[in-house]
C-alpha cells in the first residue's frame, strides 16, 4: 500500500515537473522569437544607413565626424548582433541613435539638404523603422522580465536550475550616448508616416 502511495506521489511530481519545464521552454522560445523580430528590423535599418551616409556626403559642409560615428556604430552593432551579444547591441545602438540624432539635427540647419527628396525618403524609412524597433524592444524586454521572474520563483527555480535555464538579457540602449540629443523628438519630427503607438 505504501509503495502505491509513493508511486502515485512520484507520478504527480513528475507530471508537475514536466508542466513547469514545458512552461519554461515556451517562455525561452518567446524571448528568442521577440529577439528575432527586433533583429529583422535592426538589419533593415542597418541596410539603409550606407545610403544615408552617401546622400549626406554629397554636401561638402556636412560634418564628416557625424557620418564616421554612424558607420562605426553600425559596424559595432553588426558585430554584436552576429555574436548574439544583447548588451553589445544595446551599447552600439545607443551610439547609432545618437549618431542619427546628430545627422537629423545637422539636416535641420541646412535647408537645401532638408529639401533633398532622397534624404527625406531615407529619413522617413529610418524613422518608421526606429519607431517599430522601439515597440519591439519594449515587448522583448517584457518577455525577458516574465522569463527571468519565472526562473527565479519557487517552484520553477528548481526545475530551471536542474535543466540549466538561464536569465535572458534586457536590451537597453546606452542612454549615456544619447543624453545630449533628444533623439525621439528628432525622429518624430521626420516621421511623416509615424506608426500609431497604441496596441
Amino acid at each position: 500500500m505504501t509503495a502505491y502511495v509513493f508511486l502515485a506521489l512520484a507520478a504527480v511530481l513528475l507530471t508537475y515537473a514536466v508542466i513547469v519545464y514545458n512552461g519554461l521552454v515556451v517562455l525561452k522560445h518567446g524571448v528568442s522569437k521577440a529577439w528575432s523580430n527586433i533583429d529583422v528590423l535592426l538589419k533593415q535599418r542597418h541596410d539603409e544607413l550606407p545610403k544615408l551616409v552617401e546622400v549626406c556626403k554629397q554636401h561638402m559642409q556636412f560634418e564628416a565626424v557625424t557620418l564616421e560615428r554612424i558607420i562605426a556604430a553600425r559596424a559595432g552593432a553588426k558585430t554584436a548582433m552576429d555574436k548574439g551579444d544583447v548588451k553589445g547591441v544595446g551599447a552600439a545602438e545607443g551610439m547609432l541613435r545618437a549618431g542619427l540624432g546628430g545627422v537629423m539635427a545637422t539636416v535641420e540647419a541646412y535647408p537645401e539638404l532638408r529639401a533633398n527628396q532622397s534624404l527625406q525618403g531615407l529619413l522617413g524609412r529610418i524613422t518608421a523603422l526606429e519607431n517599430a524597433i522601439a515597440d519591439r524592444r519594449e515587448f522583448y524586454n517584457e518577455c525577458v522580465n516574465v522569463n527571468n521572474v519565472r526562473i527565479e520563483q519557487l517552484p520553477d527555480v528548481v526545475i530551471a536550475r536542474l535543466a540549466g535555464f538561464k536569465a535572458a538579457e534586457l536590451l537597453e540602449f546606452d542612454e549615456g550616448e544619447i543624453r545630449d540629443v533628444d533623439v525621439r523628438s528628432l525622429f518624430n519630427d521626420f516621421s511623416a508616416q509615424r506608426l500609431e503607438r497604441l496596441p
Binding site: G23, V26, L27, G30, K33, A34, N37, I38, V40, L41, A132, D135, R136, E138, F139, E142, C143, N145, V146, N147, R150, L195, E196, R197, L198, P199
Partner: protein, 118 residues
Amino acid sequence: MITREFADDFAREWIAAWNSHDLDRILSHYAEDFEMSSPYIAQIAGEASGSLKGKAAIGAYWKLALARMPDLRFQLVSTLVGAQSVTLYYRGARGMAAEVFFFEAGGHHVVKAAAHYA
C-alpha cells in the same frame, strides 16, 4: 452551447477586468495556452501573423498596452451570442472595436480571441 446569461456575465466581467487595469484579472478569463490575434500584435510585437499564443506572451503584450494607456476604459455596446463563441462590440481607447471569443468545449475559459478595430 453558450447561453445568453453566460455571455452577459462574461461581457460584464471582461469589461470590468479591463477597466480595472488588473492584468491577472484580465488573464483569468483565458486558458493557459490561448491564442490572441490583433492587428496591433503585428505592429507592436512584430509577429507577422498578428497572433500570439499563451498567457506569458499575451500577458507581456497587454502589460505594455495597459502601461501605454493609463486612461484606458472600455464601454460595452452589445453582446452577440454564438454556439461556442461570444462577440463583444465595445467602444475602446481608439474607437469602436469588436472582439470574438471562442470558448473551450464545456468550459468557461477563452481558447481563442480575435480583435477587430474600426
